[in-house]
Amino acid sequence: MSSGLLFAVVGCLLFVMGLGGIILLDHLLRRILAFNLLGSGIFLVLVGLAQRSGRPDPVPQAMVLTGIVVSVAATALALALARRHQAAGGNTGQTDRTSPEERHD
């Protein structure tokens, strides 16, 4: 097993872990963390699969480099939205369990 394929498998696990986090976790900050884990998983799959023969491939590397910068921008925007949500009186998820009647999902 080449290290490319190994990290592609790790990328899949991170993707599923991040997706689960976005669906199952309540706190907005946790969901932003999960979103970042999901993105990192995709990056690992992209580069790991392309390099499973062991040779570096500049094309997915350049795309992932672009992706990292974009994910930082997305995280910054998500944090701004979460802060605004909290400033506008919304809860960030921590009080969900005290009001079960609001949760029908």
Binding site: V16, L44, Q94
Partner: protein, 316 residues
Amino acid sequence: MNAALAFDTLLALLLLWSAWQALSTPKLDRAVIMFIVFGLLLTLVWSRLDAPDIALAEAALGAGLTGTLLLDALAAFGQTGQGAGSTGFMTTIRRFPTILVLLVLLAALLAALSNLPLPTVNLPAMVAQQMPDSGVSHPVTAVLLNFRGYDTLLEVAVLMLALLGILTVGLPVERPLLSRNLLVPILARYAVPLMTLAAIYLLWAGSHRPGGAFQAAAVLAAGVVLLNLAQVQPRWIPGQHWIRQLISAGFLLFLCIAALLLMLNGGLLHYPPDQAGLLILLIESGLTVSLAINLAAFYLLRSDRPEPLPNQEDTP
């Protein structure tokens, strides 16, 4: 070879453990710290995958700047987050179908990985073949700014859009600093000149070895954030127009060169091979300044109004 695989396996396990901790640890501040640890481990993974460009960007942006943004937001949210571990029995029952679907998805993904088709195109060979005409000698820079230059053009636009979105949503107000660490100004005094030098080196090195505009911009942005933490550089407010002008200047320079080439050569970002190196360096220099200020603005830009108005939407 076996030692390398053993190291990779250990790294993979540590990576997954830190990711799991970031999602499941009960305390929110601990989760953010574990996420930063995850970013640093991921930096190691990228260097194991022969991707030093991504490793540089991940260390500076993925772990560094994202971590700073998260820690900053953490102070606003307070210590109220709970982990997935503290859920009740009924919640577990309700979540069971979701977890089942996720496990099926994971199995499908791993099954897809276990019998992969052979690649039909050999991208590294195609890149190597075109390298003499690209104007640079580092393949990743050639892909970023020449072969797929429009990706980078759009990416800079996405960054500006994100900042525009943050400005529209509303900036957080500046809170007074509760504690002052005396070591930070000393660190900043030694580190920031070196970081500036490193950024210029990274920009220059991008044409022939790992480095480039993104990494240089990330290091510069980190330097500005460090200066702010050392209370040398005050927060930025939206009224400071030079911030917007500098951020858009790099993008507009890129756009002008793209438009000019479109008119002269009939192709978007089709550089003439003789001038390609010079044009790429010009674009990268502009991008470094723009991206650095844009990234730093994610952290430094604060509302100049004293308090946010919670019910602003209700009053016309």
